[in-house]
Symmetry: C2
Subunit: 333 residues, 2 copies
DNA sequence: CTTTTGCTTAAAAACGGTTGCGTTCATTTC
DNA sequence: GAAATGAACGCAACCGTTTTTAAGCAAAAG
């Protein structure tokens, strides 16, 4: 005795109209006489009818669902973006399918394909690295895609980010001005464009403008995690650095804690500027000075851009660069 | 010149078989002659055919998608659960639609309905409070539901959690044993069952067993946020408490930082045990002792339970209680 | 050699909607 | 009063699968 699901047909019969008419009132189509609309609405209410979104999706070729590929929800940086994405998605009546990729190119391709199979209307991709595999899939697919908090060197798809070069340059300059001549750059894999290309460039520019020589031994590649920071600090010390630009907040907190645990005073003996301004920066003691990327906004704007693309509206620019700031706290003098 | 999407029909024609046969090979149905299977597979590959999951969903009444209602992805507690959920979902070929609810009962009902309209095969609900509204929707719907990290007083739906009473009792006892007679309980709204019923009960039991009187002025209701912790600490001090059980890690870090900022030594003058053992507990200095809920596992097990329910397998018990521990760090003596 | 049996496969009916097109009918217009 | 207009609405094709039913056919059985 299954609870028979009731369909648009049942409503039509009960209201003495055709399915088409019911469909119209459900979709707010104006071509329905008010009296008819009222009657249909009553029946819908009485029967407790809920349109089947899957059938709708098949017929209309729209699912009002977007796929979101995220490296790890557990990472504050990405979850902040995700929150921005979901909020404006909801605002525009979309839902998001969230899929963790662990920045693993295979998983990414895999997940991208199932997302496309599910006929998502659009896609948002987060991740530091855009592998060739995934890039290939991107250009093959005709569903709109936008990158959030990531850059696409060859602007195939939409993207929302900040000016990483300028941000790191500003941060580095600040550290130099406060007296450090040995500023370390601690970041993710240099093979990834954001790190290897942009951050490194900003770093070098700041050095150049300050008349300092670029010293490769002050550049550190590291995983983005608390423990990696803890483990890395001794090497930083050995390098003679007295300050560091760090690419990730968890990593920065690790460095900070390691410094503290080693009796190194922050910021007196060692200064730190981190990159994401997540809640973590406030929770640390001393609080961390950070490049202030508007994470939530990046997500929100990315989703907004995506809605425009899905509506086939005209886009002024496929890539949007949001402003950034440097929020000074206690890890810098 | 739209890139014509190719359908199962195209494959059938090209391979000189019927759609049914193509469907069979796609779904791994054994009733296909190897030679035929091979031919179909070749055509699929050649045409780059991808089954349309929406059509599939309509025909089979299964979407291989589950809805996940989460208060806020940005909160480590919930995102850890979410990660566990997604991982086993992926393992079982499901995708998750993630929807933030902000613990707002209206949004929850709203989102629940759109999730059901989208024909999700199952639902996972996270949230401290189960409002009457949402409970009503739960019992009305016949799609499987399980709660993750939350309790359902009247066991309507599945649920995975730990024994909150025992956990808080153990933590409180530990604090008492180390010398505190004035242990504060800092938690979320007492109107929510987990806090008002379970945590409070565990707290009282520990006091009783230690022969201490229950003092209402040592119980604090607070929002779960870092800033709330910062603001609350002075009141804690005023109450004369020398230790606290805290219901949330961010909140606990707030309390800790406020104590440190006020020159109160932790753990010498004030001890703290927090509840979720998220990464935050390690990042704080001193590191926070915490009840160790297996967050990831709770999510994972919840999803596993859900898969069983979706398969209509027999379930031994609708509610699963996972074990907990107390991980001792530096915020206790 | 005819009848069963069992494996493959084809045909076609769902699944629950959307939507273009055509029809109906009450109003206007001439 | 007949013709034209336009608003409401019904018809039916279609969306891309799954799944049931039955047919075809070769091998086994009698």
């Amino acid at each position: 005795m299954e609870k028979q699901t009731i369909t648009i047909y049942d409503v039509a019969r009960e209201a003495n109209v055709s399915m088409a008419t019911v469909s119209r009132v459900v979709n707010g189509n104006p071509n329905v006489k008010p009296a008819t609309r009222k009657k249909v609405l009553e029946v819908i209410d009485k029967l407790d009818y809920r349109p089947n979104a899957v059938a709708r999706g098949l017929a209309s070729k729209k699912t009002t669902t977007v796929g979101v590929i995220i490296p790890d929800v557990t990472n504050m940086f990405f979850s902040s973006l995700a929150r921005g994405i979901d909020d404006v998605a909801t605002m525009y009546k979309y839902n998001i399918i969230l899929a963790n990729s662990d920045e693993n190119s295979q998983k990414e391709v895999q997940v991208l394909n199932t997302l496309l199979a599910k006929q998502v209307d659009g896609l948002i991709y987060m991740g530091n690295d855009i592998s060739d595999n995934i890039r290939q899939e991107f250009s093959r697919s005709k569903t709109p895609i936008v990158l959030a908090g990531s850059v696409d060197p060859d602007e195939q798809v939409g993207s929302v980010n900040i000016d990483y070069v300028a941000a790191v340059e500003a941060a580095t300059t600040q550290l130099i001005k406060s007296g450090s001549t040995q500023v370390a750059l601690v970041t993710g894999s240099l093979a990834q464009p954001i790190n290897g290309q942009y951050r490194l460039q900003g770093y070098k520019q700041a050095l150049a403008k300050a008349g300092l020589a670029y010293d490769e031994s002050l550049v550190f590649e590291s995983e983005y995690s608390y423990h990696a920071g803890l483990a890395l600090f001794p090497q930083l010390q050995k390098s003679g650095a007295t300050a560091a630009i760090v690419g990730d907040d968890e990593l920065a907190v690790g460095l900070l804690d390691a410094a503290l645990d080693a009796g190194v005073k922050v910021p007196e003996e060692f200064e730190i500027i981190t990159s994401n301004n997540t809640k973590l920066t406030e929770m640390a003691r001393p609080q961390l000075t950070s490049i202030d990327q508007p994470l939530y906004d990046i997500g929100a704007v990315a989703m907004r851009l995506l809605t425009k693309m899905m509506n086939k509206e005209d886009i002024d620019a496929k890539t949007i660069r949001l402003g950034f700031d440097i929020t000074t706290r206690q890890s810098t003098k």
